[in-house]
């Protein structure tokens, strides 16, 4: 019994203390993975806030973006041009979704819009593979996958560049939504569609903007993930990890999505490396869901979500 307690509550921490450089490496790895969850979750939150639609297709949008980028590059398009073209494709996709899916379903129940995004999910998955093929592709954006050592800690150049890009993206988005009128309009739309319309906010434009932004975020997530483990179908499964992130962070909170993603990423990496051997590994696969479950039980609105108060 004492041995077990020791193995759970003391051993792992002693391991951490004995090799701080390794601990830092694990933390960095966790933060990197977490950042990717954050990006997917961010796409969810933006769309959910502005239109009340739970976009099941967010994960496939990541896959679709990465497939388009790789597909173009395989056909000899230079990286920069392929990137611009992919951005254009994602904006065009947002435009089409607003026209073909959202507009005909305006004022329908949330569950119906959710079902529509499941359809969208299958469509994009099939369409992407039809266009670009289903085999695993290597994504090489020109940043070498090299590591260098700083103070005994291995740092991967590719991961660092990706993380920096994601951080810049998040900062730009934060400014965009807080300093501009679009931010206020977005919050207004999230609060009350009718009232927003009545003061002159065009819902369609707002939807186009949030779906486009979600598409651009998907590109960055797709590049990060694709450069690390190849562009393949499993990319869309990242979306499943984004779900517990959303529960942790709160469905309507942008900071929540980011912090939630990082917590899940770091948590599952630490769990896997230090506690994994106790249970034979695979903690990484279920950690996020257990955290989500605990949150659902004790704090259903998440870390930063708005508490739902019903007036009676």
């Amino acid at each position: 019994m004492t041995e077990l307690l020791y193995a759970v509550f003391v051993g792992p921490f002693r391991d951490m203390a004995s090799s701080p450089a390794f601990l830092v490496e694990v933390l960095i790895g966790g933060l990197f993975t977490g950042l990717m969850y954050s990006l997917v979750a961010l796409g969810f939150v933006l769309i959910f806030k502005a239109s009340g639609v739970f976009n099941f297709a967010q994960g496939v949008m990541v896959l679709f973006a990465a497939l388009t980028l790789v597909g173009l590059m395989e056909r000899g398009v230079p990286v920069a041009a392929a990137l611009v073209a992919t951005m254009a494709v994602m904006v065009a996709l947002a435009f089409l979704i607003e026209r073909v899916v959202l507009r005909p379903l305006v004022n329908q129940e949330a569950i119906i819009l959710f079902m529509a995004t499941i359809g969208l999910n299958f469509f994009l998955e099939g369409f992407g593979e039809l266009l670009w093929g289903a085999n695993v592709k290597r994504l090489d954006v020109g940043i070498p996958d090299r590591s260098f050592v700083v103070a005994g800690v291995q740092i991967n150049q590719l991961e660092m560049s990706a993380a920096a890009t994601a951080a810049v993206l998040v900062a730009v988005l934060a400014v965009f939504f807080q300093r501009t009128r679009i931010g206020r309009a977005l919050r207004a739309v999230a609060d009350d569609h009718e009232a927003a319309l009545s003061i002159g906010i065009p819902l369609k434009t707002i939807w186009l903007i949030v779906w486009s932004v979600a598409g651009l975020v998907a590109i960055v997530a797709g590049i990060m993930w694709g450069a690390k483990s190849g562009v393949q179908f499993s990319l869309s499964l990242v979306a499943l990890k984004a779900l517990p992130v959303l529960i942790l962070g709160g469905f309507t909170s942008v900071p929540g999505a980011i912090v939630g993603g990082l917590i899940v990423g770091v948590g599952e990496k630490l769990g896997e490396v230090y506690w994994g051997p106790l249970v034979g590994g695979a903690i990484e696969n279920w950690f996020a869901y257990v955290v989500a479950l605990v949150f659902l039980l004790f704090r259903p609105q998440g870390l930063f979500g708005e508490k739902i108060i019903e007036r009676v």
Binding site: R179, T180, R181, A185, D191, E194, S198
Partner: protein, 261 residues
């Protein structure tokens, strides 16, 4: 009663609206004169809110036209209608509940803030100056409605009467030419009703804003309006000064004889 300067501000010409088998508005013509306070009354289900929704672009009539300042704008969307200078409130208070009172009013002024949506994001020097100028106007509205003390309070936390007042403020922040109020005094006590009546009269008097309102309280209607339009079963049954409408046999019939509340 205020006189028209150059034709009515808004004309609804023989508009009909249908929801499935239900004829919500049937061949209704109403004109709203510049500078007047018009009341739209009628029993429940008479089509009053439908008429307001038609004017503000939420519904489109399948027959008839709507002219604003002489121009046809029958099929405009609500945001386009707002851009013309028509602001409205809703029967069941539609505020941005998560935002402070101040932010609600600033959001109401969104259209008045020039500049470009996307350019603002890149270059916010001018946007900032805009913001300050607009803030000054919003503060005037706040003073006018005597809601200084709650400007930082989230709108959703306010009592109902104050929410209605904030909603009026949000509409005023857009400096509308035409203000549509859907039951501005519903659910209010006598004191709150008196306040609201005073605000409506002052908006009309000081800013010259044309107002069309739906109201059930006949005392209020008689006191503050220049003209009354009465709807019943989607048809217009009377139109004229309050004293005259009050004595109209068709109106008495609609309210007393054939009440369908």
């Amino acid at each position: 009663m205020s006189q028209a300067i150059a034709g009515p501000l808004l004309e609804v010409e023989r508009a009909s609206v249908r929801f499935g088998a239900l004829l919500a508005l049937s061949d209704v013509s109403v004109s709203i004169e510049r500078g007047e306070i018009l009341a739209i009354i009628g029993p429940n289900g008479a089509g009053k809110t439908t008429l307001l929704n038609v004017i503000s672009g939420f519904y489109h009539p399948y027959e008839g036209r709507i002219l604003f300042e002489g121009r046809d704008r029958t099929r405009l969307s609500p945001p386009d209608v707002a851009e013309l200078g028509i602001a409205r409130t809703f029967q069941n208070v539609a505020l941005f509940k998560g935002m402070s009172v101040l932010d609600n009013l600033m959001t109401g002024r969104l259209l008045k803030m020039g500049g470009h949506f996307l350019l603002d994001a890149i270059w916010w020097g001018p946007a900032k100056r805009q913001e300050l100028a607009n803030r000054a106007f919003v503060e005037r509205v706040i003073d006018f409605l005597e809601i200084q003390s709650i400007r930082k309070t989230p709108a959703g936390k306010l009592p109902y009467g104050l929410q209605k007042r904030v909603e009026l403020g949000r509409a005023l922040a857009a400096e509308p030419k035409l203000l549509l109020l859907d039951e501005p005094m519903a659910g209010m006590n006598v004191e709150e009703k008196e306040d609201m009546s005073r605000f409506i009269l002052d908006v009309n008097g000081e800013f010259g804003t044309t107002i069309a309102l739906i109201e059930h309280d006949m005392g209020v209607v008689m006191d503050i309006t220049d003209r009354v339009v009465v709807l019943d079963y989607g048809r217009k049954i009377a139109d004229g000064p309050p004293e005259q409408v009050r004595k109209d046999p068709a109106v008495l019939d609609a309210y007393l004889g054939a009440s369908h509340d």
